[in-house]
């Protein structure tokens, strides 16, 4: 075990897979010589060769299409979209092509591509370096959707994603690359000393589809993913309410058993995400939970989310859910 921040953990996952499987290949904007604008592929080109880790033209559509072709012809490409906001030029290739190719070809061709992308706010990125577009992809059958939150799960989930034979969209909360984020921009700890930053150097997997119970409690189920997991952790501590904190980790397929078990126990639920509220993945969670746990629910399921607006620059702390808003929601669930 080594203490790693999330950048190092992601790097280690790719490194591990490049070493283990020569069908693994990695490319994207600035990922080669330079090692990526967030340094997640630092040193990998030098170690594994220019033909295995390389820069691509500045074209997300071209990156996805090329990965698709490599994927159906036997490779296992890992590509980086520099910011999740820039995945949209590749949207058609992802939702109409990658997601459907196994099914449309009667199983003759499939596409084991992993698309990694830093997502979410908190770095003063404004409209186009802050979005968290997971919900769109959860609506596309054929894709798996993962959102890591710690160095430990980043590596374990990323290895599972790369080894998976279906296309996986892998979101990395850029706000947490260098430390967990508890919602206070003025107090930014690093990952050193954090238990979830103890990461094995070697190969290990966290299965896709399994949630992580980050905190255990009785009175409310808080469900989150990505950077917001840490905000929820802080909120729960400060709320004084005994809560389960479920870090979903995989959004498709999500861990229904873990969620239902918890809500059946607590009868109350708060879902927290950064993306806008309307049709965010929180909507799916709330809809599904009321379907499955209707008779257990003691109060309305709350959603604490980004507003239904573009993501702002200087006022981003008034946009991103912080512990206060989460606490208020937890408390509201206890009132009724």
């Amino acid at each position: 075990m080594t203490n790693m921040n999330m950048v190092e953990a992601v790097n280690s996952a790719i490194d591990t897979m490049l070493s283990k499987d020569e069908d693994v290949i990695m490319f994207g904007e600035d990922v080669g010589y330079f090692g990526g604008v967030f340094r997640t592929s630092d040193g990998l080109q030098e170690k594994h060769g220019k033909h295995r880790v390389f820069d691509s033209p500045l074209s997300e559509g071209g990156i996805a299409a090329t990965a698709f072709g490599m994927g159906i012809n036997g490779l296992r490409p890992v590509v980086e979209i520099q910011f999740a906001d820039y995945i949209f030029p590749a949207y058609d290739q992802i939702v109409n092509e990658m997601a459907k190719v196994r099914h449309r070809s009667g199983g003759e061709f499939w596409c084991p591509v992993t698309i990694r992308t830093p997502a979410g706010g908190g770095i003063r990125g404004g409209h186009h370096h802050s979005q968290s577009p997971e919900s769109q992809f959860t609506h596309t059958p054929g894709l798996k959707v993962v959102y890591c939150s710690t160095p430990y799960n980043a590596k374990g989930l990323l290895i599972s994603a790369i080894e998976d034979n279906d296309p996986v969209i892998f979101f990395e909360p850029k706000r947490c690359y260098r430390g967990p984020f508890y919602g206070d921009p003025h107090n930014v700890p690093t990952w050193s000393d954090h238990p979830e930053a103890e990461v094995p150097e070697s190969h290990y997997k966290i299965p896709l589809g399994e949630a992580r119970l980050a905190i255990e409690g009785d009175s409310c189920t808080v469900i989150s993913w990505g950077a917001m997991v840490h905000v929820c952790e802080r909120a729960i501590k400060d709320s004084g309410v005994s809560c389960d904190l479920i870090d979903l980790q995989t959004l498709v397929p999500w861990d229904m058993e873990a969620v239902v078990k918890s809500v059946a126990k607590t009868g109350r639920c708060v879902i927290v995400h950064e993306a806008p509220k309307t049709s965010g993945f929180g909507a799916e969670m709330a809809a599904s939970i009321q379907e499955r746990c209707f008779w257990n629910l003691e109060s309305p399921i709350e959603r604490v989310t980004g507003w239904d607006t573009p993501f702002p620059h200087t006022t981003e702390w008034d946009y991103m859910p912080g512990p206060d808003r989460v606490i208020a929601a937890i408390v509201r669930t206890q009132e009724d």
């Binding site: 109409n96 459907k100 070809s105 397929p253």
Partner: protein, 428 residues
């Protein structure tokens, strides 16, 4: 005659929007219903253009891209550097594939008209394209087609019954009733699954080629895109990635003059698609798409380049969509209905057949007999296929196929929905 084949679009916009002048310039199609269909003669003849070395620079191919590679002359004889000197056996094989495709298409259209299939798209007038090009490749090469290249499957020996079953979407459809007709997939023949969104395969094919390359295999990938679809971003991605990473890929723009009702004047201002490859550093050629020999030859050259490590080739295949876009289309609403008879490239099947007669290897009688033989094969295949169900009467693939192969293994939510569907199905 000196006249150029392509009508020039007007080049002047009057910005001031003077009397009677539209203030926004919009091109026209050359012929609309009621117009007299007429194409001026081609300025190009076989022998006009040399065959460069395979390690040539893109810039050395400018004349090939601006001109037209032909092998079969109007006199039905072959000539010039590009003559692939194929044996009569190969030519007859090609002719047979093309005839089979046309007869097959006609049968499928009849099936569509009688409700046995939902939809169909013919290759009418473009039969040579995929057939000659695929014959020029090795069997291990990858094909990444659109709906207009099903003929490649005949070259790769796909069973017609299986093709028809796909088009019906019946129990034996290897696509399991999931996609529309003509969306073939045939992995054994390295014919990659056709997808409806136009253009996407073009850039994907570059990835397929790079994977072969990465694995150190001498496999080439060929792909096609329409004149219309070349306006999608995928066209640009393909040319750029292919040239930068030197992918062993053959990138064909099949310019059949139309994208449904939209004339190619809306896809290219100057009507030439071939030349677009040159600034990307990709050797580029325009070829007569109704000339089996020229197509074969240009494709062999491109394969040779790719295989020897010289990277991609960009080819404009100049042809004419002789039929409707699809069974849903009625082209007489937007072009003269007899227009294809005037196409200077003529009919690829007659041209090859006339050439074979010219060299004494074919006769009307043989043609007639072959046609009848194929007709009965197609008929037999059709009868065999409908045994597994037709669209009007079923049986269809089980609706279980909705839930399988969405993922490698169905996750819990699909199993749950699948169960719900079964319960509901059983209650019918």
């Amino acid at each position: 005659m000196e006249a150029k084949q392509y009508e020039q679009v007007e080049s002047v916009v009057i910005m001031s929007g003077g009397d009677g002048v539209d203030p926004l310039y919009v091109p026209d199609a050359p012929h609309r219903p009621g117009d007299e269909a007429d194409f001026t003669e081609w300025p190009w003849s076989p022998g006009d253009l040399g065959r460069p070395e395979i390690d040539c620079d893109a810039s050395e191919t400018l004349d090939l891209a601006e001109g037209l590679v032909r092998v079969l002359g109007d006199d039905n004889k072959t000539s010039g550097d590009w003559d692939p000197k194929l044996s009569p056996e190969v030519l007859i094989q090609g002719l047979e594939h093309m005839m089979r495709l046309r007869i097959f298409d006609d049968r499928m259209m009849k099936m569509q008209r009688t409700g046995k299939l939902s939809f169909y798209m013919r290759s009418f007038g473009e039969e040579a394209v995929a057939i000659a090009q695929t014959m020029a490749l090795e069997e291990r090469d990858w094909l990444f087609p659109t709906y207009r290249q099903p003929g490649a499957q005949f070259v790769r020996n796909r069973d017609m019954v299986s093709m028809i079953c796909h088009c019906i979407g019946n129990e034996m459809d290897n696509v399991k009733g999931r996609q529309m007709p003509v969306h073939y997939t045939y992995k054994e023949g390295r014919f990659i699954s056709v997808s409806s969104p136009v253009g996407t395969q073009f850039s994907q094919a570059v990835g397929v080629a790079l994977a072969s390359n990465y694995k150190g295999l001498d496999e080439v990938t060929i792909t096609w895109i329409g004149d219309g679809a070349s306006a999608e971003g995928d066209y640009h991605y393909a040319l750029n990635f292919a040239s930068i990473f030197q992918a062993p890929v053959i990138l064909n723009v099949v310019n059949n003059q139309w994208a449904i009702s939209t004339h190619k004047n809306f896809a290219s201002k100057n009507g030439n698609f071939a030349v677009r490859g040159i600034p990307y550093g990709i050797p580029s050629i325009r070829v007569d798409g109704n000339d089996f020999l020229a197509l074969y030859s240009v494709t062999s050259w491109a394969r040779d380049r790719a295989s020897k490590g010289f990277g991609p080739t960009h080819i404009e295949v100049l042809t004419y969509r002789a039929g409707a876009h699809s069974s849903s289309d009625d082209p007489s609403r937007y072009r003269p209905s007899d227009i294809h008879y005037y196409w200077p490239g003529g009919d690829p099947i007659s041209r090859l057949s006339e050439h074979l007669k010219q060299i004494g290897k074919w006769s009307d009688k043989q043609h007639q007999e072959l046609s009848e033989k194929i007709d009965s094969e197609v008929m037999a295949a059709y009868k065999e296929a409908v045994k597994f169900g037709d669209l009007a009467n079923g049986p269809y693939p089980s609706s279980d196929a909705i839930f399988t192969e969405v993922y490698e293994e169905p996750p819990w939510h699909l199993i749950e929905q699948w169960d719900e569907m079964k319960k509901w199905r059983d209650s019918q």
